[in-house]
């Protein structure tokens, strides 16, 4: 029995690895043909993709509704920025440690939220997101208040430029984000295919039934918070490396953006997380490209991306709750 289980785990790992390698090749191919602006957009897609994965795991797979993933991103961002600016750590050291910091935050949140569900849990997480600016100002000497901590990806190391030539700043942002996005994809894929993923889905679908089947749902709920917070912290650290870690970088709207991306793409799917992220990142450009010739006033054009994404969100929830990925899934099923 144990041997069968090991073989299955190996099979899952191989499948996840194949998926990750394909993903990396795709991004590298796309990145090498893109102009710097689109490289920066693609880097943003990778960064937010990790954050959306945290929503997929927490809300889509285990059924815990969070409106405060942006706050966990902020925890990752601040941990990373403090380690880089105060301790002089490189980003390659600071980011994994920031993930540990956000995992601990996730543990605390998970312990306090284990008994909550539905709107109570959503309310609790929303309050945490709202508290970030207050905390940044309360601990002004360390967190530097509203102006925050300036950090960035810096320049590529000499060995990199010797090997691959001098990349543009945007290209370097992309190359920094890619390995982390690949690792996140690999782990998310592994979790969803594994026994853990099945337990989380069981909790989402029916807590009592899951408990009767031997799932310790309190422990698993805490665990999913820890894993989700680790993903969110990683995303937040990379998001801060775009220039600044501060309250205005992680507003409440960021949490809602992640949730929007997850729902649009398909909240129960990794593929959906990616598609949803591409939609929310590129939507303003698509709208701009389509409506460019109409010369709309700023009063209209500035609100259009939010308006269109809101409409898409409503249409998705009403017509196609499984999102873009779910539509594909539906077609496959009926072939």
């Amino acid at each position: 029995m144990r041997a069968v289980s090991k073989a299955k785990n190996r099979s899952i790992a191989r499948k996840s690895l194949r998926r990750t390698i394909f993903f990396v090749i795709l991004i590298l191919l796309a990145g090498s043909t893109f102009e710097p602006y689109n490289q920066a957009q693609l880097a943003l897609v990778l960064i937010l993709f990790i954050g959306v994965l945290s929503v997929t795991l927490l809300t889509g797979i285990s059924g815990q509704l969070s409106l405060g993933q942006g706050a966990l991103m902020a925890v990752g961002g601040y941990c990373m920025a403090l380690l880089m600016t105060n301790q002089g750590y490189s980003l390659w050291m600071a980011i994994p440690l920031a993930m540990v910091g956000s995992a601990l935050a996730g543990l605390l949140l998970g312990i306090s939220a284990a008994r909550l569900s539905g709107p109570y849990l959503a309310g609790t997480t929303l309050v945490i997101a709202l508290a970030i600016p207050t905390l940044a100002n309360r601990f002004m000497s360390v967190l530097k208040g509203d102006e925050g901590l300036p950090v960035d990806v810096g320049y590529p190391p000499v060995w990199f430029t010797n090997l691959f030539g001098e990349p543009s700043y945007e290209e370097w942002q992309l190359y920094v984000a890619l390995p982390f996005a690949a690792i996140a994809l690999f782990f998310a894929s592994n979790i969803l295919l594994s026994r853990t993923g099945r337990m989380w889905r069981a909790i989402r679908d029916h807590e009592t039934a899951a408990s009767l089947s031997g799932v310790n749902f309190s422990r698993q709920k805490i665990f999913v918070f820890v894993v989700s917070a680790t993903f969110a912290g990683l995303s937040g650290a990379l998001y801060g490396l775009r220039g600044l870690v501060g309250p205005s970088v992680y507003p409440v709207s960021l949490s809602l953006l992640l949730l929007t991306a997850a729902v649009l793409g398909g909240i129960r799917s990794i593929f959906g997380a990616f598609i949803g992220t591409v939609i929310v990142v590129f939507l303003p450009d698509w709208i701009d490209a389509i409506l460019h010739s109409f010369e709309l006033s700023e009063q209209v054009s500035n609100f259009l991306p939010a308006l269109v994404s809101s409409l898409l969100l409503i249409l998705t929830v009403v017509i196609n709750p499984a999102g873009v990925a779910g539509t594909h899934l539906h077609k496959h099923k009926h072939k």
């Binding site: 689109n38 205005s248 129960r268």
Partner: protein, 449 residues
């Protein structure tokens, strides 16, 4: 059995669909290739970029500055442009959120290929992009922030130049006035907890005006003023503050007055940092809260503020006259009512045109930076104080005059004759400034010869 929830399709299907999505994304947002040696400059055009809050809680008033700048550039273009090149201003709304400022800066630099950033608004938002803009050598001209940290060390930010006098200079000058005129009063402050607010407190402290935290000093987080400042006003009222200094944006000053009015708090004197004291913005915001224009004019009357430029209500000022006419003829914005924001936008447009002319026909990024650093005296504007640009500092206007709003919401000099005061952003003394502003030409175009 396949896992239906997430991984039911093969990796090939995942990749092919993802590739189609990425290709689609690229096709719709592709950036046209450009071959010019200096980005944003062609034989017929100069492209400039600007970031500002066009929407969101910090936008009221400030969202008029870009329309005023564009109106002045359109006027310059109607007169033949700068050495035959028309000026195009591309603006991006960052809603005063730094995460969005990073994205919009990337769009302006990499997609719109701007020659320079000009007149960008917001201290905390600009912090998120200033390093990147400077690293790329992109001129970051006439930033609409008085935060001294952007300008006092040109080695740190060599391409960034101010578009306002610094908050410290202004606060020191107002501090001197407070010390001399309100020594017997209890002076308090409400300020936003960012560099803008803290610079104000620092400047006042240098002038000897200090506050007690949680008693005579009330704070709020920038962007939260939309829900009112009742608690802050109650705190100042409870501590018997009768002179309230405001170190915050215009929407926050309006919120503070509305909250004070609501709780029946009537301080003897309001003193407001210039960027927070625009009459039109003040009255518009209070109007939205149900306070009619006549009443809001009454609430503003008597408020003390400072300015580096003439008041928009000074109808006889030659710059005011010229800019007002250009605003009437060329401003296509949704709200072109003449006010401080429009005047500042016009002035930044005038200053930018002056710098572009001075940098010469062979326009380059290093060329315009060097020109501005070396020729501050030639770069005149509507301001009643000279520009401080040099290789040692990139601070803009070095002086302010102090005024009081009358019943017609016009800021009038507090002294019988207008006195302009000057100081530095460090510990230097406040002294009277003797400066004669160069006249504006009949065609309202800058002359740099």
């Amino acid at each position: 059995m396949r896992n239906r929830a997430s991984l039911s399709r093969s990796p090939r299907s995942f990749i092919s669909t993802a590739a189609v999505v990425l290709a689609g994304a690229l096709a719709l947002s592709a950036v046209p290739a450009q071959g010019a040696s200096t980005p944003g400059v062609s034989a017929t055009e100069i492209v400039l970029g600007m970031q500002l809050p066009q929407t969101g809680p910090a936008s009221p008033g400030y969202n008029k500055v870009d329309d005023a700048m564009r109106a002045y550039f359109d006027y310059v273009n109607s007169k033949g442009g700068v050495y035959g090149r028309k000026i195009t201003l591309v603006t991006k709304d960052d809603t005063y959120k730094a995460g969005l400022t990073v994205s919009t800066a990337s769009a302006l630099i990499n997609k719109d290929k701007v020659f320079a950033m000009v007149g960008s608004i917001g201290t905390q938002t600009h912090i998120s992009v200033i390093k990147d803009i400077n690293r790329r050598g992109i001129p970051d001209l006439f930033v609409n922030s008085g935060y001294s940290g952007f300008y006092t060390d040109p080695k740190k930010y060599p391409t960034t130049f101010g578009g306002l006098g610094t908050y410290i200079v202004e606060a020191k000058i107002l501090g001197k006035h407070i010390k001399e005129n309100f020594a017997k009063n209890t002076v308090g402050i409400v300020y936003q907890t960012d560099d803008f607010g803290r610079n104000t407190v620092e400047g006042l402290a240098t002038a000897g005006v200090t506050f007690t935290p949680k008693k005579t000093a009330a704070t709020f987080i920038a962007g939260t003023q939309g829900s009112g400042l009742d608690a802050q006003m109650q705190q100042l009222k409870d501590n018997n503050v009768d002179v309230v200094v405001v170190g915050a944006v215009a929407s926050a000053f309006a919120a503070a007055v509305a909250s004070a009015n609501k709780i029946g708090y009537k301080p003897a004197q309001w003193i407001v940092i210039s960027v927070g004291a625009d009459a039109t913005t003040f009255q518009t915001i209070l109007g939205a809260r149900g306070i009619p224009a006549a009443s809001s004019a009454g609430l503003l009357a008597g408020t003390i503020s400072a300015s580096h430029a003439p008041s928009p209500g000074e109808a006889d000022d030659e710059f005011v006259k010229a800019f007002k006419k250009i605003n009437d003829d060329f401003n296509k914005g949704p709200d072109k009512r003449w006010d401080n924001n429009i005047l500042q936008g016009m002035n930044i447009g005038y200053l930018t045109t002056s710098a572009l002319l001075g940098a010469g026909k062979d326009l380059t990024r290093p060329g315009i930076i060097k020109y501005i650093e070396s020729n501050a005296a030639k770069l005149s504007s509507a301001a009643l104080a000279p520009l401080g640009y040099s290789t040692k500092t990139h601070e803009a206007f070095t002086g302010f005059w102090i005024g009081k709003y009358d019943a017609a919401t016009v800021l009038k000099p507090i002294d019988a004759t207008r006195k302009v005061w000057t100081t530095d952003s460090a510990k230097g003394a406040v002294t009277e400034l003797k400066y004669t502003r160069p006249a504006i030409a009949a065609d309202a175009l800058p002359k740099v010869g």
